[in-house]
Amino acid sequence: MDAVEIHRRLRERFGSAVSADLQAADWSTCAVEGQSIAAVCALLRDDPELGFDCLSNLSAVDCKKDDTIEVYYHLLSYRHRHQIVLRAATPRPDPILPTVTHLWPIADWLEREAFDLMGVRFTGHPDLRRILMPEDWVGHPLRKDFVEPDEYHGISTRRESLLKL
């Protein structure tokens, strides 16, 4: 099934919550409203003709210009060998999206990574805590306005320039 047909089916079911997004250079992308993302994913996985049995990737992107955080879902179907990208935007000061962990178990870690590095909170996630950074870390390092702290537990993150020694 090609991306146009997948998009048509999503439009049929979800109306204006889904719109085609043609700025993509590679995979065809659908922009989806944040609140509908779990429902759209459930349809994509459970409809036998769509059959997206694999969440290949989930990435959060900080769009500081638009004051949003965009989360990209790269879906694959091993059964039908087709693919699609979903893009959900959520407000930057308080990014919240519904979880998809109940659909694909790999989403557990991918969502934890997006939470840890970009601060997106996924409602309904069973165990949303930091995964790569230490548990007591403050801030989300992949945000564009993240400032590295001067020290961590008394360990300085700065050092004198070699020329000043």
Binding site: A24, D26, D53, N57, Y72, W109, L132
Partner: protein, 386 residues
């Protein structure tokens, strides 16, 4: 003696004093068989694990954040560090993502050089994996055989690009250097030596009864589970799913070569067990040799790199490029905002998914089998954390 017997009988009837407490064991971060710095918290009932919870992040070097600071060309050496056991395919993933963003075509000789570099890299990586699998479960000698061959392959790659581990060989638009004089002859000579050694290695260890007993029926993964957990590469194929990015989403020069995609069949136990994952790697080495022979024989003439502007500014957009790395389908998600620096880079690696699957896979396994699972999933810790 008689009193003891009575005591035991009483205990048997009441069950008092016989229940065992759940133990919490710490494994790692500096454990010799975890292939890098990673840690497990094991909840065990005697020798049997209730679950093993992976704790990652010890090798997090924020490679994705660095990409936003150093620009497109400057990021190439960093990609070597994503998976330093087989860095060539990381080079290729990054180069392909940039080329797709900017619409650059790689010269045909450049593609062939990439295939040759990547397949030698795959041989080197699989050798380390199968050698370390033996060592982790107690067979030390085969590891020395595997490392000996890996050193020869490192010699070949050194001849190609001057480095033995972090190659920095590819560039956006092709490769940094052409194939040196005499390389093709020496590469063929090495393949003639190496191919019979795969059979020797199989006879030495793969069909050894103790070895088979340690791996067969350990942590089987069904095809449905493998797909849902997003296992990729040899781990996915070990579960019997015939999917290889080189075949199914053809890229580079791979469509021009003939090779098979070996899958697990449950030959010694259950489909998708540790032995299947191990054997898929052994068989893939033969397929890599096949590809190498075809690529070396059919090497086209011409340049190896296309002309690319020094300040590389791809148009705004986003790409998700997948390459078949040694640890499977490696996804490179790159967002460009039209400037000389990428807005976001995300690398979805095979080891990340494999680590995520361990918590489910480990339920009910013996503690000693955990290292067999880590080894046959071929987890490389820096690739998990990036």
């Amino acid at each position: 003696m008689s009193t003891n017997a009575i005591d035991v009988d009483v205990l048997r009837e009441t069950g008092a004093g016989l229940e065992t407490e759940e133990m919490t064991l710490n494994m790692g971060p500096q454990h010799p068989s975890t292939h890098g710095v990673l840690r497990f918290v094991v909840k065990a009932d005697g020798e049997v694990m209730r679950r093993a919870i992976p704790d990652i992040g010890y090798l997090h070097r924020s490679i994705e954040k660095i990409a936003e600071k150093v620009g497109y060309h400057g990021f190439m050496p960093y990609t070597d560090r994503v998976d330093y056991v087989s860095a060539m395919q990381c080079n290729q993933g990054w180069a392909m993502a940039c080329e797709k963003l900017a619409g650059i075509e790689v010269p045909r000789r450049g593609e062939y050089c990439r295939v040759i570099a990547c397949e030698f890299g795959r041989l080197a990586s699989h050798l380390l994996s199968v050698g370390a699998t033996g060592m982790d479960i107690g067979a030390v000698t085969p590891f020395t055989h595997a490392i000996r061959e890996r050193e020869y392959i490192n010699d070949i790659l050194e001849e190609l690009c001057g480095a033995r581990l972090t190659f920095n060989y590819m560039r956006i638009g092709g490769c940094a250097w052409d194939i040196p004089p005499g390389f093709v002859k020496r590469a063929f000579a090495y393949l003639d030596r190496f191919e019979p050694l795969i059979d020797e290695y199989n006879e030495l260890i793969s069909f050894n009864k103790i070895y088979v007993e340690r791996l067969a029926n350990v942590a089987p993964v069904s095809p449905q589970q493998a797909i849902a957990w997003n296992l990729v590469g040899p781990n996915l194929r070990g579960s019997g799913v015939r999917y290889d990015v080189r075949k199914d989403v053809p890229y580079s020069a791979y469509p021009e070569f003939e090779f098979d995609v070996p899958v697990g069949t449950g030959e010694r136990g259950t489909l998708g067990d540790s032995y299947d994952r191990y054997m898929v790697r052994m068989r893939e080495m033969k397929e890599s040799c096949k590809i190498l022979r075809q690529a070396l024989a059919g090497l086209p003439a011409g340049p190896v790199v296309a002309k690319v502007a020094r300040t590389f500014r791809p148009p705004a957009g986003h790409v998700y490029v997948r390459v078949e790395a040694s640890r499977g389908d490696m996804g490179w998600f790159v967002v460009s905002d039209g400037t000389a620096f990428p807005a976001r880079v995300h690398i979805r690696t095979g080891s990340f998914a494999a680590m995520a699957a361990i918590e489910e896979m480990s339920k009910g396994l013996m503690i000693a089998d955990l290292v067999a699972v880590i080894a046959t999933l071929d987890i490389v810790a820096p690739e998990v954390d990036r």
